[in-house]
Assembly symmetry: D2
Homo-oligomer: 293 residues x 4
């Protein structure tokens, strides 16, 4: 028996990246079965979450625990067919994590929306000593995870920034110490997480980060800011954070299994995938839509 396995798909989250794929902005050649946030069932193993960066396991990125940067990685719903289907072919069982009792529909979005902000926050922990302030720009799905991780993993003061009043209220209910609209006065921060990534949010990030602080951009809105010796505050680190490593996803699953994480999902039959994508494009989604075959 080789290492390939066929997983019966139980749930697959619908992500903005799927829209970018459809638009041809990212990902491999079309047509492609979308879906990279996948929970399923493997005979003899049980319910599993699929780690979506199918790395080669041998390059130096893999050996350093940076599977998501593996140049040879193939991602389901991206480089190969993904989870908007009844079955998924995976190259190796090492890409499966036991759900440990988590509802597959709830678990699926952890594979991207859940793990991406976790990695961003974890990498910024050296800056988030007690007394530090963290700014979270964008309090949508990813931002809501980021706020919770910041409270779970640091004693930093957490300030959410979002133009939407309901999202600001949600941010506060999830533990943000304060929530502001983009035009409000904002505190200087040791760490700024930009979950949007537009010109405007990147500018806001650089304007509010303190010297020696860090700006982590996660959002893919395509914005840019100039970097140079005097163009950002002294010794600030500008960096992007990309998806998550296998260990990052394990950590997120552990936190979720313990019940320390809140997030919203809306189940929808797989047959209505197009409707799900349309609603996401229209911004008409509260939590994560998760397709169920």
């Amino acid at each position: 028996m080789g290492t390939e396995r066929v997983v019966r798909v139980l749930a697959a989250g619908v992500c903005h990246s799927d829209l970018h794929m459809i638009d041809g902005a990212v990902g491999g050649p079309l047509p492609r079965v979308l879906g990279h946030e996948i929970a399923g069932h493997l005979e003899g193993v049980g319910d599993v979450l699929v780690y979506p960066c199918w790395s080669d396991g041998t390059c130096d990125y893999c050996q350093r625990g940076l599977e998501q940067l593996c140049p040879a990685a193939a991602e389901p719903g991206w480089a190969v067919d993904g989870g908007f289907a009844e079955q998924l072919l995976i190259p190796h069982p090492r890409f499966l994590l036991p759900l440990g009792g988590l509802d597959p529909v709830r678990a699926a979005p952890l594979a991207d929306a859940g793990v991406t902000p976790y990695r961003a926050v974890r990498r910024a922990l050296p800056w988030l000593t007690a007394g530090a302030t963290a700014l979270v720009i964008g309090a949508g799905g990813l931002g809501q995870f980021a706020i919770q991780y910041l409270r779970l993993l640091s004693a930093a003061t957490v300030v959410a920034v979002d133009p939407s009043e309901p999202k600001r209220r949600r941010a506060l209910s999830l533990g943000a110490h304060d929530a502001a609209a983009p035009g409000d006065d904002l505190p200087a921060a040791e760490a700024v997480f930009d979950l949007v990534g537009s010109d405007a949010t990147l500018r806001q990030a650089v304007e509010h980060v303190r010297p020696a602080g860090v700006v982590v951009v996660v959002g893919e809105a395509g914005g840019r800011i100039p970097f140079g010796f005097r163009l950002v505050p002294y010794e600030v680190h500008l960096t992007s954070s990309v998806w998550g490593s296998y260990q990052d996803l394990q950590a997120v699953l552990g936190i979720a299994q313990r019940g320390d994480l809140a997030w919203d999902v809306e189940p929808m039959p797989l047959a209505r995938a197009n409707e799900a994508l349309s609603r996401l494009r229209a911004g008409d989604v509260a939590g994560r839509i998760v397709l169920t075959p």
Copy 2:
């Protein structure tokens, strides 16, 4: 004007170290005015907490932010007269931290009972990645702080160990995920905090720490265990943690000012200091007794 200042004492915590001082086990020559957990008032500045490691500010420990290890440090209530008094002479205003609205009676114990477990937890953070387990041996005053810092600063699973059933309940109410009696089955842990420091608790620590984990001993019960290549699990770090640096105390004050920390104090007039010490020796104290002139 030199750098010395006279602080009017508002509150001074009563600590087990005071008993050790009285017994001559530690500290400088007697007689000595005891009291190293001191809140007070400085004219023109306001209410302050006294950072109690009066370091020289110039040695390499001071420069590395390890004031509590400064070989030239003089501690009030220890090497020089302390806070069980109406006034305290301090060598330099740099040893004062503004209370920022905290009640002096509540703030005083932060200078030792509050900061010592903070430092212990903070130093162990590299071991406390998500998925890790932390064992807190001893759920008295310091242990209760430790449990809270662990929840505030890490996503580790926190298990408290104490023979006292009320303390186990208190541990759970402060955020411990589990609480066990010393004879119970305990999980293997990446980090073990020994707030007792007896032969028995150190042995328990070494028996439950995982390879590559850390044991931090804070308790001064005088216990010992043998260390050698195969005598503790491979690559475990054994270390003590001593009081706190200036930055540690700042961090604790910040957490307390934000309202994220719970601890109990029992105010008592300074005139009843001997009664306070007797009750502490008898183990008849729930929270920290704080003397008020």
Copy 3:
């Protein structure tokens, strides 16, 4: 006696920043006595190097050992009068480091040219694990220090990049494993140090840094590159490095005192300061010109 001291100047290095000052591009209002790389003599103490970031010692940057980022810092030869003089007024003896037998003329440039690349390299050490490659763009004075620190502090493979053939030869003699001209094929690197800081060198840095690597810009040529989610390799850190902390300068002095560092100086009488500045502007300087009163 207050804390101010008058140091008799023995030597003061001439730095490109002095030209920027003269041109009004940086620094405080003119006229100003220039000179921030200063060795001198203090009665009763001996020969000393002047730590040039006269920080307030109380802000959070100072407490974190980032004196060079202290917003209240006054730098000699910059914000206040400096070392191109016979005497220098310093605000506090804590800004003096004993030379420990080093020749003052040789020691003076360590205060900027020596410490700045040290800090840049030290901050990048987490990226410089064995097997890593470091690219040093610009093999002039600062680059030559950087190459030596890289060899002293890491097992990284060090590649110097410079258009000047003599500087490439010098780089190799100081320990660089390879030296290349800007147009040559360059290896991908975990860490890139840009000692120039032009548009072209920053572009080169971003083109050769590997995902998850770091670019540290030290050079003040005023260049810029765009930063955004997909504009630099994934998870790369872009940062500037600014001068050095007090501890950085201590470390550099220690390395120099042990004889592990090579650098060139050319002594010149203070009376010929203008000639020194002219030659520096003309690029007609091999090592550091150091003025002696």
Copy 4:
């Protein structure tokens, strides 16, 4: 084709652990083919070094890059048959590292004698900032590697301690700044490496480590010292270091391939294995004896 491979053995180092195995003090049941420092040839791949901790690749130690702590690891020459043979069965090609032109006879000892002190030094790097002092107790084979890694990876002052005058001279020639006999005055050190591990050397380590420093024991002489709150200097870390991770061995190979490492080997035919073991037991070995089939 499964993952197993047969490697033709080219060279196998003879290690003190082999004697411990023979004496039954460590390792699995006898009889066993000894030999864990193995270089060989794999058809289609070329000359390789065998990574000797055959870990399961799935446990949390493996995922954290701590293969040498994997509880399921099987070591050749220890838990399964090893390299004192003409052929070696390895469970998976992931345990092979290309020699990249290194002589197999020279390369073999890197798999234990070379990598073990590397790991010990690497783990202590946070303590080895510039200005720090490192004490290396025992300047035999492992100590000689340790001295070189300390010079390659840190700017620490390195002091070797050994009763043998020739070994002290060798230590100096390999870069130690000083070499002392055990009874000599020794400096206080931030990091002490005990390559012996006897009661006496552990005591020496604890007596000379500074507060907040680290003692790393590598030697397996079976010594012990008591640990407790006041029994070792404040905040010192006591730890053992065990063999090396896969990445550690890669790093060592890289350093060796670059020519930055000196060590002695004495080739001997496999048929004379018993003579090699006898000479090792008698202490009659200068470099590493390497058996060649």
